[in-house]
């Protein structure tokens, strides 16, 4: 006896297909992605084209104009102006560039150093492992802001200092994570088979070990970007990060601190920008972790 279920081919406009597309789309973190595009990525690349005013030259006569929707605001300056009459919106757009530069550089540099050392420590073990892990312990116990303060006090604030300081503490996190994973991969059959087949250690690490840790590195890196942005803006806020008059978001919040009674918008909007970007990055990181690296979900 033949059982035939009535199969109805869904046509492209049928509700089920649309629902499917909806489900497919909802699987991706769309809102965080949109926020990132809108206030970080597009401004970082096209700040010159989309910002209505110059980021560092202001109209002194129009200083402390409130945002457009408030009494006394003008549509010329959507988010108002700061103490020197510089347009807040343009400064936030231009600031995105520095956020992106600093965080990507830091993640790349500390990631490469940390991952390589983690691979070496995990794969070779022994003395190399001990040496590297002690380095990790030490790096983890160096208080970052203090280090930054000391460097800035003697050398003055600069991009190099910010990047250096954050890298000094960040590499250790990659190294620790990668080492842990390599330890569990190392004893699996495919590694010993590669060894028997005569592959060099270098080749095994690159071809067989690294591809197996790459997912968790991506997850870790995404989750780190938010941390890096927060640290960078904290340093800039303290005057120990990106030097003036660069429109760094942390610096802009600092500019608004003394104006909080009269002009709340000066520190409010850059802070919102930082919060939204970091929040979206964290949501993206959580999502990526669920997709790529589900064992870490409960951490």
């Amino acid at each position: 006896m033949e059982i035939t279920a009535p199969v109805r081919k869904p046509s492209w406009y049928s509700p089920s297909v649309i629902a499917n597309i909806g489900r497919e789309v909802r699987r991706y973190p769309l809102i965080p992605l949109a926020i990132l595009l809108l206030i970080l990525i597009i401004p970082a690349f096209f700040a010159q084209n989309i910002s209505p005013h110059h980021p560092t030259r202001g109209q002194f006569s129009e200083r402390l104009t409130p945002p457009a929707w408030q009494e006394g605001g003008s549509s010329k300056y959507l988010l108002g102006t700061d103490k020197q009459g510089r347009d807040m919106l343009s400064r936030i757009f231009h600031g995105a560039k520095y956020v992106l530069i600093v965080s990507l550089t830091v993640i790349a540099v500390s990631g490469v150093i940390g991952v390589s050392l983690g691979l070496i420590a995990g794969y070779f073990g022994g003395r190399a492992d001990m040496f590297i892990m002690r380095g990790v312990d030490i790096a983890l116990s160096i208080p970052a802001i203090l280090l930054a303060l000391a460097i800035v006090a003697s050398r003055g604030p600069s991009f190099g200092t910010v990047i250096f300081v954050i890298c000094v503490i960040l590499w250790s996190r990659y190294a620790r994570q990668v080492r842990g994973e390599v330890l569990s991969i190392k004893n699996q059959d495919f590694i010993s088979r590669a060894q028997v087949a005569g592959s060099s250690s270098f080749r095994i690490i690159i071809r067989h070990v690294f591809p197996n840790v790459v997912n968790s590195i991506v997850v870790l890196a995404t989750l780190q970007v938010g941390f890096v942005i927060l640290l960078e803006s904290s340093l800039s806020f303290l005057g120990a990060g990106i030097p003036r008059p660069t429109p760094a978001w942390g610096l802009m919040v600092a500019d608004g601190r003394e104006l909080v009674v009269t002009a709340w918008w000066v520190s409010f909007f850059p802070g919102i920008a930082i919060s939204l970007v970091v929040l979206s990055l964290n949501l993206m990181g959580d999502w990526l972790r669920d997709r790529l690296d589900p064992k870490q979900r409960n951490l």
């Binding site: 030490i138 208080p143 203090l146 929040l279």
Partner: protein, 305 residues
Amino acid sequence: MQRFIIIRCFYALVVLFIVSIIVFALARISGNPVDVFLPFDATDAQQEALERDLGLDQPLPIQYLKFVGNALRGDFGDSIKWDGQSAMGLVGQRFPATMQLAGIAMGISLLIAVPIGVLSAVKKDSVFDYIGKIIALAGQSLPPFWLGIVLIFIFAVQYDLFPTSGRGGGKNLILPAITLGWFQVAAMMRLVRSSMLEVLDTEYVKLARIKGIVEWKVIWKHALRNASIPPLTFFGIVAGQLMTGAVITESVFTWPGTGLLAVDAIRSRDYPVVQAVVISFAGIYILSNLIVDILYAYLDPRIRY
């Protein structure tokens, strides 16, 4: 155990050594101190005399040893900005204000983090869990310096409930303490939650339940006590965060503590004071990490080298 403590102490010393080298090296890079003290038209002989006075003519290792010797006696030289005061004296003067703030902040963060952490573990996927997740996410995403400013704007400017800055009565403490406590809440809560989840799954908790002990007692007495070991290690990190946070919070609220001292000193390139703050903060940080490590090893005998 003894071996563990000795190894740990050794690492602590290594870290302190590295920090001191960094601070010392930075002091030397920052330019020849002779230029600061002498007028422009000083002769070479005067310059050499001063270099000899300051010990700058000696080889670097000897200079470093002298620096360490002085540092051990708490002597980092005199402040440049605050005339005639010793750098370490300034740190000492400002320290109680920082401790007060940090203590209250710690209390506030514990008060928020522990109950929510426990409840979100016990009632997984309930409203508490949801609130906990939001707090955790917000805690990781809101820049604390900005949070402080927003708090000032809402509670000090709009509603005039608290003063905007400075140190004084209890009212002055609340906003800075919340800002500083905020640093810890998210991480602490997550840690309490995950370690509670682990403990709630164990045999002795089930046994306690079977014995008919009231549920709240099982949770708050039996489970929480055992679940508090992992969060304890976190206190080492908290110590570091409190100091980082103190620097930020104090500069937001112009709270006259050590953190504000550091920021002021940087703005006026007052290097002796910066040195004194960095070394003493690093010392506290390293010491609290050391204590936590040792404590942890006592509490959980599985941790060994």
